[in-house]
């Protein structure tokens, strides 16, 4: 642990820390452009120059390892001059177009020029001009503004794992570009916009939309996947304008996926803003809330508890799930399910459906088996963490499922489910690798769990975990990777069929046969809803997607940006999302709709406000009271010991950009899909 002094203040930093980090530790801010905590050190912007005792000239603090006994001066006249000089060189070729630059107001160059630069320019020559580059539908480029910090190049190469970006040419003609200007083929591509310290890479969909000081900033949680990435929602005048990542070291660090960032334009399209009721002519007609709720009350009365079922969608908040569960219990209906994908998880043993190692635990794993999941599409930010682990260690990675490019080499064991039996009994060579590993880990995806023999696969996975020493001694490497933001909350609350209840698939076939009289879909769109004529179908949600089209009654609800709610990510971490804007038109928050319905049905749910609902939720499930924390789950028996059925294991998701009602309504996501070479949605639907 080297000890050094910065401006006379003694600091002790970790071995391997840089002088820049030591200065930060001592409380002195060092200006920088190319240096970034999570990227390799480039040392090419020279903005971080500081004086070191006995050094003939200023040193680049970002690239100099801190050593014992160093005496650093960050406030000398020479440092001040050096910073002014570097800034003058950077600005020599930087256009003075701040008034029309989207980075204005949140620009590192602007801020640091104010803080550390000179007062006027001495440069009267022509500035260089650079052609714009094509980097796909998300990244707008104004390359004349580029200062060649190469943060974007390092991000694409190191974090995203798609080495498409590079700097061609040299000296004044150096330019950042993709190879032959192809789209940056990463699910994390838009993070380069945040990394860019100037306005060279800005957000294409957000171009010229707003200035940062006009925005209302709200801290929330992403629901596009189940990782629960921490986000900041920026809104103005009732519209969500952009989503940015928020730092959380143990969840998403400071990245978010392109879908989390850009599916938000889907929140403005195809919204349900008033109740609709299917008339005798077979068409949906606008209705008032009293009419709609009365129709639902009558249908529930007619269907009887045994004849009604409810399906929880993938983005519902925990409070609403709890409210539905309470209502269904009070009505006496056992047909409630939160597993839209049909995963065979009964929710009885908490360890059986959590990502037990936690996301941060990936940094310790030394062997990894992925079963029926494509983490690159299902949780891109977590996948970047696995990639980093692969870069920094000799972790062995293999997967069972379709062949895929995960941005790191992963041994493809095959796609047959029987392989699991071989690994469980130790006859497969990879089983030995898992056994030899100190911290082995497996990731079980919904591609495996939703199979008809999902319970047997779960059992085999538990067997593998126990056989290869994944559990015990402060380590649990048994991980389930969910794709739905609401899934873990649903399983925690117990939103699964109780005794005699039907799961989603059974409910749908019963509805087709006519034995289920009422099907209540709470934001559930990812189902085959054809042939439900015999059943009174109610869709409560925010988008006119599959569910609303099949419904006889549509209840408009709030999207996740429009309500306060708790979400539990796949680790079991409870996080709070806050309301950024109000729901459009007549749309109401889900819990309030359920509360109003209960009133009509004469059922007392025991709460009148969201606060009371939360108190009830925390009282019956104490882990919800621990915000941002993980309550470790106890290991035990789960899964079935039945034989595997054979056949192939699929990946959980095969489609990244359009996987929920919001992203399917998003034009930006459609453009991304097209740029990625996938057929557009209209063609896919045919």
């Amino acid at each position: 642990m080297p000890k050094l002094t910065v401006n006379g203040i003694e600091v002790e930093v970790e071995a391997g820390a840089t002088v820049l980090q030591a200065c930060e530790e001592a409380g002195f801010e060092i200006p920088r452009f190319c240096y970034h905590d999570r990227l390799s050190i480039a040392g090419n912007c020279r903005m971080c120059l500081v004086d070191m005792e006995r050094a003939p000239k200023p040193i680049a603090s970002c690239a100099m390892p801190a050593a014992d006994g160093m005496a650093i001066d960050t406030q000398s006249e020479r440092v001040k001059k050096a910073r002014e000089g570097v800034m003058e060189f950077l600005l020599a070729n930087h256009p003075l177009d701040c008034p029309i630059c989207d980075q204005g107001g949140e620009c590192d160059l602007q801020d640091q020029a104010m803080a550390f630069g000179g007062d006027a320019s001495r440069y009267t020559e022509n500035k260089r001009a650079v052609d714009e580059k094509h980097m796909g539908p998300l990244i707008k480029t104004v390359m004349t503004r580029c200062i060649h910090c190469t943060r974007c190049v390092r991000f694409a190469t190191e974090v995203a794992g798609v080495p498409d970006l590079g700097a061609i040419g040299r000296g004044e003609t150096m330019e950042i570009t993709t190879y032959l200007e192809k789209t940056l083929a990463s699910e994390l591509s838009a993070n380069v916009i945040d990394l860019c310290p100037v306005g060279a890479l800005t957000s294409q969909p957000y171009a010229f939309v707003s200035r940062p000081w006009e925005l209302n900033k709200v801290e929330s949680v992403d629901v596009m996947d189940a990782q629960g990435s921490n986000i900041r929602i920026d809104a103005r005048g009732g519209q969500v304008l952009r989503v940015l990542p928020r730092l959380n070291e143990v969840v998403n660090e400071e990245w978010i996926s392109d879908k989390a960032r850009y599916a938000i334009d889907g929140l403005r399209r195809q919204r349900l803003d008033q109740p609709y009721l299917r008339g005798s002519d077979g068409r949906l007609h606008p209705a008032s809330w009293p009419e709609a709720l009365e129709a639902l009350r009558a249908a529930i009365k007619k269907a009887r508890p045994a004849g009604m079922g409810a399906v929880i969608g993938d983005q519902l908040d925990a409070e609403s799930i709890f409210a539905v569960k309470t209502l269904m219990d009070k009505l006496g209906s056992p047909h409630l399910d939160c597993r839209q994908d049909g995963a065979k998880l009964d929710g009885k043993r908490r360890a059986s459906y959590l990502f037990n190692s936690t996301i941060a635990g990936i940094d310790e794993a030394d062997a990894l088996l992925i079963i029926g999941s494509n983490p690159r599409l299902e949780a891109p930010v977590m996948n970047a963490r696995i990639r980093r682990r692969w870069l920094n260690s000799d972790i062995k990675i293999a997967h069972i499922g379709p062949e895929m490019d995960l941005t790191y080499p992963s041994e493809w064991l095959g796609e047959e489910a029987e392989l699991l039996a071989g690994i469980a009994d130790g006859s497969h060579p990879f089983a030995q690798l898992l056994q030899q590993a100190e911290r082995p880990m497996l990731i079980l995806g919904s591609g495996a769990l939703r199979r008809a023999d999902g319970a047997a696969i779960l059992g085999k996975a538990r067997q593998i975990a126990e056989q290869t020493g994944m559990t015990g001694k402060g380590w649990n490497g048994f991980n389930v990777l969910h794709n739905a933001a609401s899934r873990v909350a649903g399983l925690d609350i117990g939103a699964v069929p109780s005794k005699g209840g039907m799961a989603v698939a059974e409910m749908l076939s019963a509805a087709r046969a006519g034995s289920l009289k009422l099907l209540w879909l709470l934001g559930a769109d990812e189902l085959d809803l054809a042939g439900l004529e015999k059943c009174f179908t109610v869709y409560q949600g925010h988008h006119g997607d599959a569910g609303a089209h099949a419904a006889d009654l549509v209840l408009p609800a709030a999207a996740w940006t429009e309500k306060n709610g708790l979400y539990v990510n796949f680790e079991g971490r409870v996080q709070q999302g806050l309301r950024a804007v109000f729901p459009p038109g007549e749309a109401r928050e889900d819990w309030a709709i359920i509360r109003a319905l209960a009133e009509l049905l004469g059922v007392n749910l025991g709460f009148d406000s969201l606060d009371e609902l939360r108190q009830m939720l925390c009282a019956s499930h104490p882990q919800f009271a621990e915000l941002d924390e993980i309550t470790p789950a106890k290991w035990g028996k789960f899964g079935s010991t039945a034989r595997l059925k054979g056949g192939v294991v699929e990946a959980g998701l095969t489609e990244f950009y359009m996987s929920c009602a919001i992203s399917r309504a998003s034009q930006t996501m459609a453009a991304c899909r097209k740029a990625a070479g996938q057929p557009d949605a209209a063609q896919a639907a045919e």
């Binding site: 580059k133 190469t157 080495p163 590079g166 700097a167 061609i168 040299r170």
Partner: protein, 214 residues
């Protein structure tokens, strides 16, 4: 300079190394540990350029990237960084004219003017018949014999307006003169002949020493 301006408009569909070069690649790759084979990128680019009329097509860049397990953009970065790699077709005689200070002081401007007069091309241009290309480059490292023009692999030194004209004529006729000083001096010896100790001969020097000893 955008990528379109940097590379040739017309690119061949494919690129394959010749059998002789395949052997050479084997020899080059043997110099590096397998996990560091990306180090061979510059020798391979050079091979590709020599094989392909003194310029590197994108197909060759992709071929090299594949062989060395590198991202294509990484190979392009290297190829576009060094002026010695041509990403566009050049003439049969690729003239690299040094214009750095010592050459400029010794009259490289005259050489430039001569090339412009005789061939009608400026830096970065190629004659319509495809015989000559000119590129002004930075120091070629032969300042003692300035000014210099490098023609393909050979240096022609001590040029002035007239000798440059003669050199161009000889090249156009397909008879390249012997490389080196066109003024006829050996290596980098003084252009005016020996200037110091001129009167001394080795033999006399020996007698002088003897005399001193005596």
């Amino acid at each position: 300079m955008s990528i379109e301006a940097l590379i040739a408009e017309e690119q061949p569909e494919s690129f394959a190394f010749t059998a002789a070069n395949e052997k050479e690649i084997k020899r080059i790759l043997a110099k590096y540990p397998p996990e560091r084979k990306a180090s061979a990128v510059m020798p391979l680019l050079d091979l590709a350029q020599r094989q392909h009329d003194n310029w590197i097509p994108m197909a060759a860049i992709e071929e090299i990237a594949k062989r060395l397990d590198m991202a294509k953009i990484r190979v392009l970065e290297v190829a576009s960084f060094y002026t010695m790699f041509n990403l566009k077709p050049v003439g049969r005689y690729f003239l690299q004219l040094c214009g750095t200070t010592p050459c400029m002081l010794r009259g490289s401007d005259d050489v430039t003017r001569c090339i412009k007069d005789k061939l009608g091309i400026a830096s970065g241009e190629t004659t319509p018949d495809g015989q000559f290309s000119l590129l002004e480059v930075e120091c070629l490292g032969a300042c003692v014999n300035a000014p210099i023009v490098q023609v393909n692999d050979d240096f022609y030194e001590d040029l002035d307006y007239d000798s440059t004209a003669r050199l161009l004529e000889a090249l156009a006729a397909g008879k390249p003169p012997a490389p080196g000083s066109v003024a006829g001096r050996q290596g980098s010896q003084s252009a005016a002949g020996p200037t110091s100790l001129a009167g001394l001969k080795p033999k006399k020097a020996r007698t002088a020493r003897k005399a001193r000893h005596a």
